[in-house]
Amino acid sequence: MIKSAAVASAALMANLGSNFAHAAGSDLIRVGLIGCGGRGSGAAVDATSAAENVRVVALGDLFPNRLAEARKRFADRPKERFDITDDRCFSGWDAYKQVLECGVDMVILATPPAFRPMHIKAAVEAGKHIFAEKPCAVDPAGVRMVMEASDLAKQKGLAIVAGTQRRHQSTYLETIRRIKDGAIGELVAGQCYWNQGGLWSVRRTPEMSDMEWQVRNWLYFTWLSGDHIVEQHVHNIDVMNWVIGAHPVSAYGMGGRQVRTGEQFGHIYDHFTIEYVYPNDVRVMSMCRQIDNNDNRIGEYIMGTQGRSNCSGQITGANAWRFQGRGNNPTVQEHTDLIASIRAGTPLNEGRQIAESTLTAIMGRMSAYTGKTVRWEQALNSTLNLMPEKLEFGPLPTPEVAMPGRTPLV
């Protein structure tokens, strides 16, 4: 992946990449940003600083005020990187379609995760390369959509890179390469954590409909974010799937909503613990928490028969090793790798990978919400579909808080 710059120039000389009329070689890549919040805007800046000749030309957001904020944010940036005109700015529920239709080569998908499956599908159908923020779905129905779209992208020669940036971080890449080469022997067990304080929330104002408030305050509604185990902890779970080289066979978990109980926090949990069983009975304990004033811990640990590692720069045991130097900036590197792969005509496709990591997190949530053990096939084939019937501003009651033993497993 990292060697893609070299690959890119080799490919250029070989005059490959003929499938990509609009984006091969060093041609300008025109980018549309769908979801103009802080992360989407950050990804747009990352993309334009990741390689030459990448220009953000279109913006889309559900909310006009969020769109306006982003336009303002980019107004003073160089025209060769941000050339955004009125006719390429869209708001409303169909803004993503309009961005896809306005002559872009690549889209950055950074809305709340609920919309990611339909955006990925639409972008692939429209023949666009994709940077998709994590997670890529909130329920099994969405995961399946992403898997199908990802396969179609492969057929069409389109790139999909996901916002699980550790996959592009030098400390992780070098460490996990060594582990896969046997540095800690046969893998036995792991632990992964994202335990931090609470995140931002959006207060409801009298003029907001249920739908508007929920989408603006999206972290706290499972249909929008997937709950924090999916929305945030997917980063660590993805590392576990990566280092072990498989998705889990089953999940057995618990969780609850103990401290963060106010109305503004919707109905999601504030803590989870899941035991994931992987092939060969490798067991991973996963913990995530968003409660203020607790001891924090964020990271991934893997144990083998000959040593252990934090997956990101340190190996102890028989083949002790430490990463030297500072490491790269992974949120820029993921765009560098994406763009180089497009230009080389060898598009990266991380669709299946992020779909599997997302489903791993979802099956953990399903287990914790219901109190039942959930097997991979059960999760993959589950009929659970959290998307409201109609996407329109209006009434939408906050769902009940899931109660293990009472909430059914579907």
Binding site: G38, S41, A44, P330, T331
Partner: protein
Amino acid sequence: MIRTLSALMMMCLLAFALAGLLPAQEAKVPAGIETNTVKIPGTTVSFEMVRIPGGKIEMPPKEPGGEPVVVEIKPIWVGRTELTFEAYDIFYMQLDLTEDQKAAGVDAESRPSKPYGAPDRGFGHDGYAAISVHSRGAIEFCNWLSKKTGKKYRLLTAAEWAYACRAGGPPVKLDREALSEVAWFADNSDEQPHPVASKKPNAWGLYDMLGNVGEWVIGMDGKPMLAGGSWRDRAAQVHCGALVPYSIEWQFTDPQEPKSTWWLSDGPHVGFRIARED
């Protein structure tokens, strides 16, 4: 018998103290230096301050080749340690506000945003300097504490800071061995900050002026600067004249646009120390 035991224990304690084995916090403030302990109203959290005497300090020229600037320093109260997470937690997590006050948006503009991830980076929390703090957070903390206490808290100026750091001594750079007695820096830090006051204090009883975490001060031009070097720096960068401006590198991996004005995603070496005027 009991007396004997006590005497024996006293002797042991003294021996430990001489060997530097006692917790450094127990070390006495030098004679003639006033201290006081401040409890943050409505909380159980307190911190110690030291009143440093007035004097003069020569600061480097404002422009290369210019004249050194002599700055007069008035007596001022200085935090005995870098500000710790216990105190900063109350401020940034709004632990002093009721749910109703939070709902009403009390202080909404003057309190830090909710950090993404763990500002303490897993190095340690209670007893450790608050880190990952942008200058805005350091300044607003002082304003918040001033409001709470009715006293004027602020960051030190660069001149006051250098003066407090030297504690009446000349401007010297310590060699690695001497520095190791008073500071956590690259050679001894094991790549992380350490609990405050776990090295020896300076002549005025101030801990960790050198190393551990860099400390926000107000520079000669009014802009925030980071003073004293940190656990990441080599010995040559850890001295009373060490002063560096904000670097975008300290937010290298902040994935948001705009980047946070409260938190430094890559500032595990950035903290602050508070001062009080009266």
